[in-house]
């Protein structure tokens, strides 16, 4: 009965949601051809982890602000990663004329240099 979502929401439910989001992000990272889409998928993964942190921190019996504090850091860092990644994407586009990863690899194989 405790696990029944219609009576109360537990940490377990949040974990399931986080898991689903994580795997959607993972699939996006692996299967996307567009580099910007890959970066957005990375953000999904980051957010899934953030959600997990927050849920653990909230459902802990004793109050602890470590989880909340950590999430702020991860948010900042993931935003930074995204900014740098987008800059790289821009550079790649300038060089190869595309940000499709498969095409970039094909061109790399042809020319032998990046």
């Amino acid at each position: 009965m405790g696990n029944n979502i219609f009576y109360c929401v537990t940490s377990y439910n949040y974990q399931i949601v986080s898991l689903i989001l994580f795997f959607i992000g993972l699939l996006g990272v692996i299967l996307s051809r567009n580099l910007i889409k890959v970066l957005i998928s990375l953000e999904f993964i980051m957010n899934a982890v953030n959600l997990l942190f927050i849920s653990f921190a909230s459902y802990k019996s004793e109050p602890s602000y470590l989880g909340y504090t950590l999430v702020i850091f991860t948010t900042g860092i993931s935003a930074l990663v995204l900014a740098v990644g987008i800059y790289f994407a821009y550079l790649l586009n300038k060089k190869f004329g595309t940000i499709d990863v498969v095409k970039i690899y094909d061109k790399y194989k042809e020319t032998g240099k990046c």
Binding site: N3, I5, F6, Y7, C8, V9, S11, Y12, N13, Y14, Q15, V17, L19, I20, L21, F23, I24, G25, L26, L27, G28, I30, L31, S32, R33, N34, I36, K37, L39, I40, S41, E43, F44, N47, N50, L51, I54, S55, F56, A57, S58, Y59, K60, S61, Y68, V71, I72, T75, G76, A79, L82, A83, I86, A89, Y90, N93, T98, I99, D100, V102
Partner: protein
């Protein structure tokens, strides 16, 4: 059914659906919009969990700042072409099966041991008696056949996938 659980169901449902749409959509602008939706829903879940400050930060960074950045980059790169970029076809079968098995195994793990996350949550030492599991573990084979089947099929699929690569 409390208000909390109702909001949880709404938020998480929108989150999952919009993340799938974000990945499947053919235009980059739509991807971005669905991703904004996902981030917004996560901010809502943070609010539900009582982490209002985190929700505010999430909103400011992910729903306001980053989409602007991405939108500008899409404009600069000019990659808003209408093309299906999600399913590569080449190794999507392999990846999807891998992720499917991973989800299966993790779900099995969770179902075997509901207290697993409780233990992490309470940070207590692993001392417990698993009366629920006794029905499974008393059997000599237990869940091993299932595990073995999953593992073996995973290996076979890996080998098939590897043999198709590099050709």
């Amino acid at each position: 059914m409390t208000l909390n659980s109702l909001f949880f169901i709404i938020f998480s449902g929108i989150l999952v659906l919009s993340s799938i749409f974000s990945m499947v959509s053919k235009r980059m602008t739509y991807t971005l919009l669905w991703a904004m939706m996902v981030f917004l829903m996560i901010a809502g879940l943070f609010l539900l969990l009582g982490a209002s400050y985190n929700a505010m930060v999430q909103f400011l960074i992910y729903v306001v700042a980053i989409p602007v950045l991405i939108a500008v980059s899409i404009m600069l790169i000019n990659s808003n072409n209408k093309e299906n970029t999600f399913f590569r076809g080449k190794y999507s079968l392999w990846v999807l099966t891998g992720v499917f098995f991973l989800v299966l195994i993790i779900g099995e793990f969770l179902s075997l041991n509901n207290d697993f996350f409780e233990i992490i949550k309470n940070c207590s030492v692993y001392v417990n008696t698993y009366s629920d599991l006794s029905s499974v573990t008393r059997n000599i084979l237990g869940v091993y056949p299932v595990l073995f089947l999953e593992f073996a099929s995973g290996i076979v699929l890996t080998i098939i996938g590897l043999s198709h690569y590099g050709k």
